[in-house]
Symmetry: C2
Subunit: 301 residues, 2 copies
């Protein structure tokens, strides 16, 4: 096995997790959780998304969240914001976002459903964004990179084409998202075989654990030289909250596996597990992460 | 990635799953579940264990279960029985067991706790068993092969030594059990690097998913040429039933990943998922497998 010495994990729970909760989360609770995550040592946290409030009412306090975070932590960690329109991204940049994850699906029908734009329209917006991004980093977040509810298994060449177009439009890097959680290690290897020779250092993986293949895909990625992943605290954002939503890999499970294999992450995993407990208390949820489940068991014992 | 064309999965739910349930399971319910599993196409099912009823009251109908199964299915699948004493194994052989999984821990303190014998005493019993096994196959099931609650991380050389002693005693093959679920892919690779040159074709892996590393370990094993695994229907046997117990890999999650990578198993996974629903209904449990969780979500939707 060929493992890297260090891996960068971006915490996306405050965006990918919160947005899937149906119960309203108070802004101060969001900020408290982000405080907890900052203490764990993350260098990047995806703190919110600037999308239409109708599409994601949970995120209608995005400006307030970003403003408060940038005010409290001007440089402790990079604030990533998800956006799918130029106007949303521009607003985030104006408020000091360090990175924009600009989401485009690998298939037109899913992009239309998710963003109300064709892939071509989204690419045009991405190009416009890249002209005004200034010092901020723009990451093309490719949704449905492995499968799509409308077209099924995603052909690797569709992803390659979108990636090329995005980089030509000026994106700095790419995140490949297994939106439905159907990616298997062989498919991951096959797609990365195609992309790594061209974009190796610029690829981030956003894997889900819907069918239990998330960590198997992580190992496959590590073996191929991928060193950047996104994950969600406690596995927040998933089945028990928003029916049908995919399950994020739990950040603390990922960090634990990396640390057990002597891979440096810079994250204090004990603090992260404490933060999971804060999340459960504030949001009144039971998180699905494996370590948390085993801890609950030990407590019952 | 170097994947095998076919993998053999042994279903161990009726032993490893049932034994961890605190509520009494009726013998006819056990037989009904084993019927369902037989329909799925398994070539080997671990149907019960012949251990002292005080140690595992749930298994005090072992003789009745084995007799009924061998009567109904004289040759449809191989009946594996777990035992930790010569007398238990002998009784199982007398009733027609096809395979004995004879469990010995890689460390003395755990073996004493689990079987009331030292490792040396267990090896002596194994040697006696191998003399009377006749046509039956004897598998040395090494518990705590990766870590032990008493000594911590298990040195690979301890496992190697026990395996050598077991094979010298006459065992046909070995199962390596990640009893506590702490094995990580690097440790799995390291242990298999040591064992495969000597015992490659005779190694079965029994992995747990307690900390979310089960499927990552499966991929590592496949890459190293391992083609035999044990798993439990729905992930039965674990945290929500018996506090502190480790979580088995869910058989249907494993089969799904293998099939998605075009690896033949001979199992009808749709039937297996239906059988999971039978298990949930009869045992009044909610199984933790990933596919089952995602199905429940879809139903809520």
């Amino acid at each position: 096995m060929k493992l890297p010495q260090a891996v960068e994990v971006t915490e996306v729970g405050p965006r990918d997790g919160f947005q899937n909760l149906q119960t309203r989360i108070q802004t101060e609770d969001k900020l408290c959780i982000i405080d907890g995550l900052a203490e764990c040592g993350f260098k990047k946290i995806e703190v919110t998304s600037f999308v239409h409030p109708k599409a994601s009412p949970q995120m209608d306090d995005a400006a307030e969240v970003l403003r408060a975070i940038k005010n409290k932590y001007p440089s402790r960690f990079k604030c990533t914001i998800l956006a799918s329109t130029l106007s949303g991204a521009q607003l985030a940049l104006d408020l000091g976002a360090d990175e924009i994850a600009f989401v485009i699906s690998a298939s037109d029908p899913h992009n239309l459903e998710n963003t109300k734009n064709t892939v071509e329209q989204s690419l045009y917006a991405l190009a416009s964004l890249c002209k005004i991004k200034g010092k901020a980093l723009v990451r093309l977040a490719i949704a449905t990179a492995f499968s799509c509810p409308f077209i099924g298994v995603m052909p690797s060449k569709n992803v390659m084409r979108l990636l090329e177009a995005g980089m030509t439009a000026g994106a700095d890097e790419v995140a490949l998202a297994d939106t439905l959680g159907t990616a298997n290690p062989l498919q991951v290897e096959s797609l990365l075989d195609l992309l790594i020779p061209h974009y190796g250092n610029n690829i981030v993986l956003h894997l889900h654990d819907t069918y239990g293949m998330g960590m198997a895909n992580v190992i496959t990625c590590l073996n191929m030289g991928i060193t950047r992943f996104e994950a969600s605290v406690g596995g927040l954002g998933g089945y028990q909250f928003a029916p049908g939503a995919a399950v994020n890999i739990a950040t603390e499970d990922l960090i634990n596996m990396l640390h057990m294999m002597n891979i440096y992450t810079g994250i204090d995993n004990d603090k992260l597990i404490s933060t999971c407990q804060t999340v459960e208390r504030l949001l009144k949820v039971t998180l699905p992460g494996h370590i948390l489940r085993s801890k609950r068991t030990a407590m019952i014992k």
